[in-house]
């Protein structure tokens, strides 16, 4: 029996009692176990999942059903989950049992969803390949020698391989959209402020945003309906009504204007990715969309700008991991400073240390103006590029990544090459806009290609609508990697 991927259909089956949540949960737990070699999960709590499934079945029996009641989900191990290990992919939190639920977890729990487990990730979400995890790299279900992307690589691999119907992720510079592209699934990063950051372990606070990795845009809408909304515990959460994202999916897109940033199609873009994106744009033309060229002159500096701001914020956000109140503490030390240094050096991996060093340097006396302040000003110019662009289009479309999934180990020794993977996704985080990556084909190696759709602030409904219409006309998102049927 092949696995039903659509959450909308799974939900209908649960409601019709064709399948119980316990059966569904068991099926996924078994798949997770069977495909342990992907290393998609850091922690699976079978008993807890089944207990939640049983209570979901009771709710279904009593008729108290929402669209996610009884649906098993995987959560990136960056979301604090009360009573569960929450490691953020780091040795420094390898023993940390979160004593509270992140708002995102709380909302999914309240909706009756089941927690299958916590997915693997780049340590503290710093990475584009999920090779920076203390718990080992994740493998791409389409090609086990390739990376799944990152940092939400565990979530992306899990959804692509059918180890979970959907998974949460976080996106600071592309960490949802890029692994979604590499794994051939749909990945949505909402507008900054749309989803609460409370309980989501911080990497770069002004850029981090929680989102979801799903088989389709239609499923993303169902999850976003639950996930989005104002949270008084997050001062950057925006108090603004949440529309029914599912209701907007089928709106016609005839006459919608698509902006193509010239700069997203220049040198650096892989030929096969470029062709797939061109084909997708043709599809949109067939669907009646207008296509216009736009200019984003300052976006070319988004990567340098990001590699000042994100590490600067991270260097401060990660100062709390000092071995005093929770987490790892070095076994031996001579004094307080030695304890700090040994704890942090043993507890953090190389990439995390590298970014802490860069960020510390960028904020330090004498360099602040040239690095940090200059980056904040560039950030304004980049946001202005988008504002101007949206005067002439409704959505912006382009590639999610310059290339498809690369081989494991190919870029671990070259951080700059790794960073350049996110050139098309980073500008969106800097501006705080919503973006979604949808599958748009495969390269000759059989690696999936992602198409990125970027919207205006709080226009998640529109980009999901544009993504959904594409998925109604194509079947790239329905392709399943071999061995994971």
């Amino acid at each position: 029996m092949s696995l039903e991927r659509s959450i909308v259909k799974l939900s209908a089956a649960l409601r019709a009692k064709e399948v119980s949540s316990v059966e569904l949960t068991r099926r996924y737990l078994e798949r997770i176990e069977r495909h342990g070699e992907l290393n998609a999960f850091i922690n699976v709590d079978r008993e807890r999942a089944l207990a939640q499934a049983r209570s979901a079945d009771e709710r279904i029996a009593s008729g108290k059903v929402g669209p996610l009641t009884g649906i098993p989900l995987a959560h990136k191990d960056i979301f604090c989950t009360d009573g569960m290990l929450t490691t953020c992919g780091s040795k420094i939190l390898a023993n940390f049992v979160a004593p509270y639920d992140a708002t995102v977890i709380e909302r999914f729990n309240a909706a009756g969803a089941v927690i299958l487990g916590k997915t693997n990730m780049d340590e503290f979400a710093m990475g584009s390949s999920t090779e920076n995890s203390y718990f080992g790299p994740v493998r791409n279900p389409w090609d086990r020698d390739a990376v799944p992307g990152g940092s939400s690589g565990g979530s992306a691999a899990a959804v692509a391989a059918g180890l979970a119907p959907a998974a949460t992720g976080t996106d600071t510079g592309g960490s949802i959209r890029q692994p979604a592209a590499f794994c051939g699934i749909t990945g949505l990063k909402p507008s900054y402020g749309r989803v609460s950051r409370y309980g989501m372990i911080a990497f770069a606070s002004s850029l981090d945003q929680g989102g979801i990795l799903t088989p389709s845009a239609e499923d993303a809408a169902v999850l976003l309906n639950v996930m989005a909304g104002f949270d008084p515990r997050d001062s950057t959460s925006v108090d603004r009504p949440v529309p029914d994202y599912s209701a907007q999916l089928d709106h016609g897109i005839k006459g919608v204007t698509i902006g193509l940033p010239r700069e997203f199609f220049g040198e650096g873009l892989g030929a096969e990715v470029g062709l797939a994106v061109e084909a997708a744009i043709d599809e949109y033309k067939n669907l009646g969309c207008e296509v216009v060229d736009i200019n984003m002159p300052n976006c070319s500096l988004a990567v340098p700008c990001y590699y000042v701001l994100a590490p600067a914020e991270a260097s401060s956000n990660l100062a709390r991991y000092d071995g005093v109140r929770y987490g790892y503490r070095a076994p031996e030390y001579t004094d307080l400073t030695d304890m700090y240094k040994k704890t942090r050096s043993q507890g953090f991996g190389t990439e995390v240390k590298r970014r802490i060093l860069i960020g510390t340097y960028a904020l330090s006396a004498g360099y602040y103006d040239a690095y940090y302040l200059q980056a904040l000003k560039l950030r304004r110019l980049i946001a202005e590029d988008f504002r101007r662009a949206f005067e002439s289009c409704d959505v912006i479309v382009g590639p999610t990544t310059p290339t498809t999934a690369f081989a494991l180990g190919a870029k671990v020794d070259d951080p700059v090459a790794m960073y350049l993977n996110d050139i098309y996704t980073i500008p969106v985080n800097l501006a705080g806009l919503p973006g979604v990556s949808v599958p748009a084909g495969f390269d000759s190696a059989g690696h999936p290609i992602g198409l990125q759709i970027i919207g205006q602030y709080f226009d998640e409904g529109r980009i999901l609508n544009v993504a959904h219409c594409y998925q109604q006309a194509t079947d790239w998102h329905k392709r399943i990697p071999n061995g994971f049927e």
């Binding site: 309980g199 100062a319 709390r320 000092d322 109140r325 006396a365």
Partner: protein, 477 residues
């Protein structure tokens, strides 16, 4: 003297909010260790700060009271450094754009009025406490205090002596208590002072190298620490040395300051705007609403006490130093309906004596304002004399009830029956013929002797005015 001291003060006041500045945890003092340290306060992974509105109001209130500029947009920044009582590894503070800037406080010293500039006042969070005793060589960390709202008030280097510094500090202390934004408890650390001290040759305009004296927790110690430090620096300079810029700690036991070498490591706080907290913005209507909650301030109140109650500057000053004292005084005036000067004498005199003796604040006075008013009423209506009143107040202070009860129980009611007093006067005159003779021959001062004898015979209860009248009449005749 060749040298001129230059002093600026940085005062941290804990704001009297119910909850912490960025969390819903209680700020109550004295809880068991870490009982009042919630997820936000101990900086668990994933937690976020949410700003307390009352702390903003209090900061604005302070700014208005010192005639400062209220900044309608201010920015929270992170001050990064590692310390075990600083759970996040950074303190949320305000750096480039504080909520209050450019105010002033007038102090009186040696009869002259001097204006001390306030550079800025900014909101920030307090750290926890490190406890060093009794952990077999380890330090224990209590985070109950972490996240308590602080207003840091930074003065200009406008003070020129330790005494001026103390005047400023006392003025500030009275002010924040008037505003009810701080309880002013220096022992519990609600009101903490750091002093920047330097000296320079008199006439020189540029500042000398300063040292920073940390956490001096009483007015007396502030004065002593600054005095010591001024002399130390002068000794260094006169000995041909140079003053090192450093942090020094005052040791009250030895009455000296010493260098805190452990804190001397070069600091680089890497301030940057806190991405978790958008800029703090409010409009003029917010400021106006706060303005309406401003109480009458000490200087205005003192002036009013002088004009309204006819008090001299000294008494008015004493009565308005603390808001509670001023309120108490006005309650007594109003409830007794007596002469305000009479009331002032009782409050600043006898009552203050009892408060000092028992080391009590006016708020904890054993004699309430209503009770004191009741007693003063009895002086005004001649039920008791001022002298007897002292006995009555003593009894009241010791819990024997209100003035009327004490007068009744002890039989202290003044004798105002003319015939009764006349009878005693007659007896006294009859018993002292020699003195009567002396008086008749012009020795006026024996008159006092007769008054004394009459009062003695009546145990002080005869109305002194009547005694005088009757004596005069009898002796004339």
């Amino acid at each position: 003297m060749r040298w001129e001291p230059v002093i600026g003060l940085e005062v941290h006041i804990q704001l009297l909010t119910q909850s912490k500045i960025f969390s819903g945890e209680s700020t109550r003092y004295g809880a068991e260790p870490n009982m009042q340290a919630c997820a936000v306060d101990i900086a668990l992974p994933g937690v976020l700060p949410v700003m307390n509105k009352e702390a903003v109001r209090m900061a604005v209130k302070f700014g208005l009271a010192v005639g400062a500029q209220i900044n309608h947009r201010s920015v929270f920044a992170r001050k990064n450094y590692f310390y075990p009582d600083l759970p996040k590894g950074y303190q949320i503070s305000q750096y480039e754009l504080p909520i209050v800037s450019r105010g002033h406080i007038d102090i009186e010293y040696d009869g002259a009025i001097k204006t001390i500039g306030i550079t800025r006042a900014h909101l920030e969070e307090d750290a926890g406490k490190s406890l060093h005793e009794d952990f077999h060589g380890l330090t224990g960390i209590d985070l109950n205090r972490a996240g308590t709202p602080l207003l840091e008030i930074v003065s200009e280097p406008d003070m020129r002596s330790a005494q001026e510094a103390v005047s400023y500090l006392k003025k500030l202390h009275a002010l924040v208590r008037y505003l009810q934004i701080c309880d002013g408890n220096m022992q519990e650390g609600s009101f903490r002072c750091d002093a920047n001290v330097s000296v320079r040759p008199r006439g020189q305009t540029e500042l000398g190298t300063r040292s920073e004296l940390k956490n001096i927790n009483s007015f007396r110690f502030v004065e002593k620490a600054i005095k010591f430090e001024i002399e130390r620096q002068i000794d260094v300079l006169e000995g041909g040395g140079t003053v090192v810029q450093e942090t020094r700690l005052y040791d009250p036991g030895k009455d000296e300051t010493r260098s805190m070498r452990s804190k001397e490591e070069a600091h680089d706080y890497r301030y940057f705007p806190d991405p978790d907290l958008p800029p703090l913005e409010f409009d003029e209507s917010f400021v106006k609403a706060v303005k309406q909650t401003l109480p009458e301030l000490p200087d205005a109140k003192r002036d009013r006490f002088m004009s309204q109650y006819g008090l001299n500057a000294y008494d008015a000053g004493v009565l308005t130093t603390a808001r509670e004292m001023a309120d108490y005084y006005e309650e007594v005036v109003s409830a007794s309906g007596a002469d305000p000067k009479l009331v002032a004498n009782w409050v600043t005199g006898e009552l203050s004596g009892y408060l000092n003796k028992d080391n009590r604040e006016i708020a904890d006075s054993a004699v309430s304002s209503t009770a004191l008013a009741g007693m003063i009423k009895r002086i005004a209506d001649s039920t008791i004399s001022g002298k007897i009143a002292k006995e009555v107040l003593d009894a009241m202070w010791n819990g024997e009830g209100d003035a009327d009860a004490v007068i009744e129980k002890r039989g202290l009611k003044q004798i105002t029956d003319m015939s009764a007093i006349e009878k005693v006067v007659d007896e006294v005159l009859a018993a002292n013929p020699v003195q009567v003779e002396q008086h008749a021959s012009g020795e006026q001062k024996v008159f006092g002797y007769f008054v004394g004898q009459v009062m003695k015979a009546t145990s002080g209860k005869a109305n002194p005015k009547q005694v005088n009248e009757i004596l005069e009449k009898k002796l004339r005749s």
